[in-house]
């Protein structure tokens, strides 16, 4: 039930090591924001700064309009679920959940009521008198969430809450968290993960962090369909987007690119007269790269095929630096191995990047806000 406003937040260790800088975010009530990024990008640090466990070097953090930079964690109206659950090992499930309320000197009746409510939501009723060590990983995770719920916080903070669970349990708990969010539509949640499936499925908006800054903020499908830069393009989606070098030979509402490796690509990204001859990277997701008999973007020999049942991944011979070109085809296509294949893509699926930045978001090109608005329409 709170807005968060992060203005120019930065974190520096020892005065020299910049972990995060220029973080500007406007998180609205009821949103579930997911921070994703590679390890070491500062996503957990950012969450811990919001929690108050880590000092904010510069910038301003507002929760519900109030500056909380120097407010202790307990008074910020936040609750946090830790990666290792951080349950108090010497307390029963009930005492774990009651701890914060006892510290806050709530009455017995209030405490009992809060615990009863939370344990009902999380189906923890049979385990209330057990110690954490007598619980399974999933149950411990639910207790950790329950400990947050009883405090009725304005903002929930999740720090990679599923990374200690096995694959099957992770899926189940992910769905539980999604249901929990649905049951509490007014609560704001911030969720840190390195798992993009969690990010894509849970988030209202995703914040991609890289190199100490924000690479892009947007709804999951915005990030997938209109990435702002090569980093987001390759980080979101698995296997990651193929990037192939080429030169612009035709401009206008559509852009025509002559590929360095032969072939021609057509993209729906608009370009200007001045872009003529510019060196670009053409980005196509593996699932959009299909066999073609006409115009092709890439031609190569299939080195390895991975049949996954519903799809087949084709790995082509390496061209230049970077990973191999990958194509994802429906069904089983193992017979393509060793053959030379020509691949093309629909113009609407072809992304263009100049110097790592998307042509769509260039200053002078399509303005950022306009894209988001346009997208909001196209998504619905």
């Amino acid at each position: 039930m709170a807005d968060l406003l992060l203005t120019d937040i930065a974190k520096t260790y020892g005065g020299t090591v910049d972990v995060l800088k220029n973080i500007n975010l406007d998180i609205r009530t009821g949103e579930l924001i997911v921070f994703v990024g590679p390890s070491g990008c500062g996503k957990s640090t950012l969450l811990r700064m919001i929690a108050g466990l880590e000092k904010i070097t510069s910038g301003e953090l507002r929760i519900d309009g109030q500056v909380v930079n120097d407010v202790p964690p307990a008074q910020r109206g936040i609750a946090m679920v830790f990666q290792s659950y951080a349950l108090y090992p010497h307390m029963t499930v009930r005492d774990n959940m009651a701890f914060a309320l006892k510290i806050a000197k709530k009455s017995k009746a209030e405490i009992n009521e809060a615990i009863e409510k939370a344990s009902k939501i999380l189906q923890l009723e049979p385990y209330l008198d057990r110690l954490p060590k007598a619980l399974s990983g999933g149950q411990r995770q639910r207790v950790a969430i329950g400990r947050s719920i009883v405090r009725d916080p304005k903002v929930y903070l999740f720090d990679e809450p599923l990374s200690n669970l096995d694959a099957a349990l992770r899926v189940a708990t992910r769905i539980e968290i999604a249901q929990l969010k649905e049951a509490m539509p007014d609560s704001t949640m911030i969720y840190v993960t390195h798992d993009q499936v969690e990010a894509m499925t849970l988030a209202t908006r995703i914040v991609v962090l890289a190199g100490g800054g924000i690479a892009q903020v947007g709804s999951p499908l915005t990030l997938y369909e209109k990435p702002e830069n090569e980093f987001v393009a390759q980080f979101i989606g698995s296997p990651s987007m193929n990037l192939l070098p080429g030169k612009i030979t035709g401009t206008g509402a559509q852009t025509i690119i002559e590929m360095d490796g032969g072939g021609v690509a057509v993209s729906d990204y608009p370009s200007q007269q001045s872009d003529m001859g510019a060196q670009v990277n053409v980005g196509v997701r593996p699932e959009h790269l299909v066999e073609t008999t006409g115009e092709y973007i890439f031609e190569g020999k299939v080195e390895i095929t991975e049949a996954l049942g519903e799809v087949t991944l084709l790995y082509f011979e390496k061209v230049g630096e970077g990973g191999p070109v990958i194509s994802k085809l429906a069904g089983t296509q193992s017979e393509l191995r060793g053959r030379s294949v020509r691949l093309g893509a629909e113009p609407s699926k072809v992304h263009l990047f100049i110097d790592g930045e998307s042509l769509l978001y260039r200053t002078g090109g399509l303005a950022k806000t306009a894209t988001t608005a346009h997208l909001a329409v196209s998504v619905h």
């Binding site: 466990l53 946090m80 830790f82 510290i103």
Partner: protein
């Protein structure tokens, strides 16, 4: 032969002998007794593996049996017999005589006081030192200073503290810190601290607390470091202040270590001898059981009562030892 050379030779023969024992006995087992070849290779390997632990433990078992288990039974026998009557069985007469001596009850009472005070204060100060030195830059230096008394023998410590409690006639410079402070704070004349009953026992206990605090600190500091950082952060987010974090989150998580430290020091206390022996020799109502036993056994040559008091010490230590081992094992799990 030069003594240093002699010492070196002893070390070489001793250590070499140990290594040779393990090496050759193992060889003998594998090559001669149960060779891993021929028709029964598999059976022989299994047998060798069953014999090996006993083979390797044998020197320790023999030494412990000879110097620990046998003396227990011998002491029990001595406590029930009278040497002056040619070792005749006298039943519980020695115990009866011991119980009629006020000095025994004084020793028992004092031991009980030591038992209450020393482990409590050592553990408390150790915990305090461990917590306070944990996060400061010069914590490591502070820790080594606090730990240093552990390296001093009990007798050495007793000599140091005897100087602290030292008394010089009025008018001379007091070399004892305690009297110097006492006089500068307006005391009339220097006190013979170690002759003032009850308080002198406390002053002796201070020496042991001074020594054992370092031990408690080192063990508890390791335990405190073992507490998952996230549980502490969770408590901070939950609104706990530093005292609540310490007493409600940290202390309960290291409770079994606290018990182990407490009981270990308790066992040391029950056996305390050197400090009392070197500082007061049990005079002025400072007697303790171990020194009482020594007095009876080796000064009065009363083997019966001396052995009886040794049995009393053993009876007191045993249950604490069992509890100590139980908790130490629980902690390891």
């Amino acid at each position: 032969m030069h003594p240093a050379f002699q010492g070196l030779l002893t070390i070489i023969v001793g250590v070499g002998g140990c290594v040779a024992y393990y090496y050759f006995s193992n060889q003998f087992l594998d090559r001669v007794l149960c060779p891993a070849r021929g028709k029964h290779a598999g059976r022989n390997i299994n047998r060798a593996n069953m014999i090996r632990p006993w083979l390797f433990l044998m020197p320790a078992l023999i030494a412990l049996g000879l110097y620990l288990a046998y003396p227990v039974f011998e002491t029990l026998r001595l406590s029930l017999t009278d040497r002056s009557q040619g070792g005749a069985f006298v039943g519980l007469a020695n115990y009866q005589q011991m119980a009629s001596e006020p000095k025994f009850w004084e020793a028992l009472t004092n031991n009980f006081l030591w038992l209450l005070i020393v482990p409590a204060f050592s553990t408390m100060f150790g915990l305090l030192a461990a917590q306070l030195t944990d996060r400061i830059g010069w914590g490591a230096i502070a820790k080594s200073l606090i730990f240093m008394p552990m390296a001093i023998s009990f007798v050495g410590a007793a000599v140091i503290w005897k100087l602290v409690y030292d008394t010089r006639p009025l008018g001379q410079d007091q070399i004892g810190v305690m009297n110097a402070v006492y006089l500068s704070l307006g005391g009339d004349e220097p006190q013979q601290w170690l002759t003032i009953p009850f308080w002198n026992s406390i002053l002796l206990m201070v020496v042991l607390i001074w020594i054992q605090t370092g031990f408690a600190m080192v063990i508890l500091s390791a335990a405190l470091r073992g507490i998952p950082e996230e549980t502490i952060e969770a408590a901070i987010v939950d609104g706990a202040n530093p005292f609540q974090v310490f007493f409600q989150i940290k202390m309960p998580q290291i409770s079994s270590t606290i018990v182990v430290v407490w009981t270990t020091i308790t066992i040391v206390v029950l056996k305390v001898f050197d400090i009392v022996f070197a500082m007061t020799n049990g005079q002025w109502e400072t007697q303790v059981l171990a020194n009482y036993m020594y007095d009876k056994l080796f000064r009065a040559n009363d083997w019966g009562v001396g052995s009886a008091s040794a049995m009393v010490i053993m009876l007191l230590v045993s249950p604490i030892l069992v509890w100590n081992v139980y908790n130490a094992r629980k902690e390891m799990r």
